[in-house]
Symmetry: D2
Subunit: 133 residues, 4 copies
Amino acid sequence: MGLHLVRATADEVSAELEVGPRHRQSYGIVHGGVYAGIVETVCSIAASLWARRHNQSVVGLDNNTSFLHAVREGKLSVTARPLMRGRRTQVWEATVTDATGRVVAQGKVRLLSLEAGSALAGEKVGIKKANSK
Amino acid sequence: MGLHLVRATADEVSAELEVGPRHRQSYGIVHGGVYAGIVETVCSIAASLWARRHNQSVVGLDNNTSFLHAVREGKLSVTARPLMRGRRTQVWEATVTDATGRVVAQGKVRLLSLEAGSALAGEKVGIKKANSK
Amino acid sequence: MGLHLVRATADEVSAELEVGPRHRQSYGIVHGGVYAGIVETVCSIAASLWARRHNQSVVGLDNNTSFLHAVREGKLSVTARPLMRGRRTQVWEATVTDATGRVVAQGKVRLLSLEAGSALAGEKVGIKKANSK
Amino acid sequence: MGLHLVRATADEVSAELEVGPRHRQSYGIVHGGVYAGIVETVCSIAASLWARRHNQSVVGLDNNTSFLHAVREGKLSVTARPLMRGRRTQVWEATVTDATGRVVAQGKVRLLSLEAGSALAGEKVGIKKANSK
């Protein structure tokens, strides 16, 4: 998708995306799936960084993304911040702004914590190392 | 994303996607953003086809997608069906199944109807012709 | 709220509510909180009945309810059916119809499974007996 | 429901609720429907106050509420703040805190703007006067 990570900690994850033709639907505005996708990505990375501290990993449960203003071009910035970081689940909220700083989309992702060694789609879950993405 | 339309009418839109490396996150399962993206796509096409009958177009408002089972490979099929098709807004629900027919994700998209000539992000909305996608 | 259970199994839960003054907001239509509330109730009962089979209980995580048609009076019927019943989480969908059978609202609830004896808000979770509500 | 308005402007609406037996489900914690209901209420009041400035009224479209921490007792405070206040739709976010100031639930409501005189469930929509609730 062309999303570039800017900062990633267990407290906040930010990324940027330069809008191009592949991000637009037929009216020429950014496709809703792009917003939902970048929201999912930054929230998942953030939750994963937090989970690692407790030797857990995470898997996404639900993504709810609202489209607030139509955008045609320029750079989108997305930042995930925690609403709740528990041992069973986490909830992260991500805000997408356009090049002028206007909030153009907002999303929320709930993730389930998995203990190391849990089965997921037929394989054991490993806990990602600090340097892996 | 590699999504192929299978059938598109104002009553139902279906599409397929063959899972590949670009659809997987770091655990090797399909990324939540892929599900949200294909849900958004089929619901938007469907709502647009319905809106055209009333000389309207649509723009997405909210996407809510739930991840039900983790998938590693194979073909995903997604089908959008209407929950409500009104003159002001529409709500479509899309179900994603894996190659075995199991429901692996489900999403819902609310879309706003726009009259022809409405302004959207600084441009006039045109109504898409029957043969355009 | 005046909701009456009609049928409750681990596969489907139905309930009814006769619209009265306390359910209406200032325009005279049923308040959105009523739909979200009855969706939450039937999904929670259903998930709890399923969880009990595995000596688990459940707690709600997220409620997403869409309002499809405004209703002023008459009987509302709500039915919850499972989208996914797993050992870690469950997702139930509930449909609300008015007296004419029209779908007027639809909601989805994700619930987390808790093992017997888990701590929840400072107390141990007990597993509800078959005859308790 | 026992919700008391504390402050209501077109920029922010706050309310409080003292948890009692009617707000609890069978585990003794506040029912998810209560959170969704108070989120719906404060967001609707806020959006309505904003809409009135443009001779519009509003009707709720979707309510998405996340439950973050279980609560057994005490006072809940809920505050709605705008994510987007447009001429076609509005999106408000409401945060629920417990007596200790901890965020225990968070919700988002999308509302549709209606021009004065629009038909809604068979009746004309009037625009509420400044002193009406």
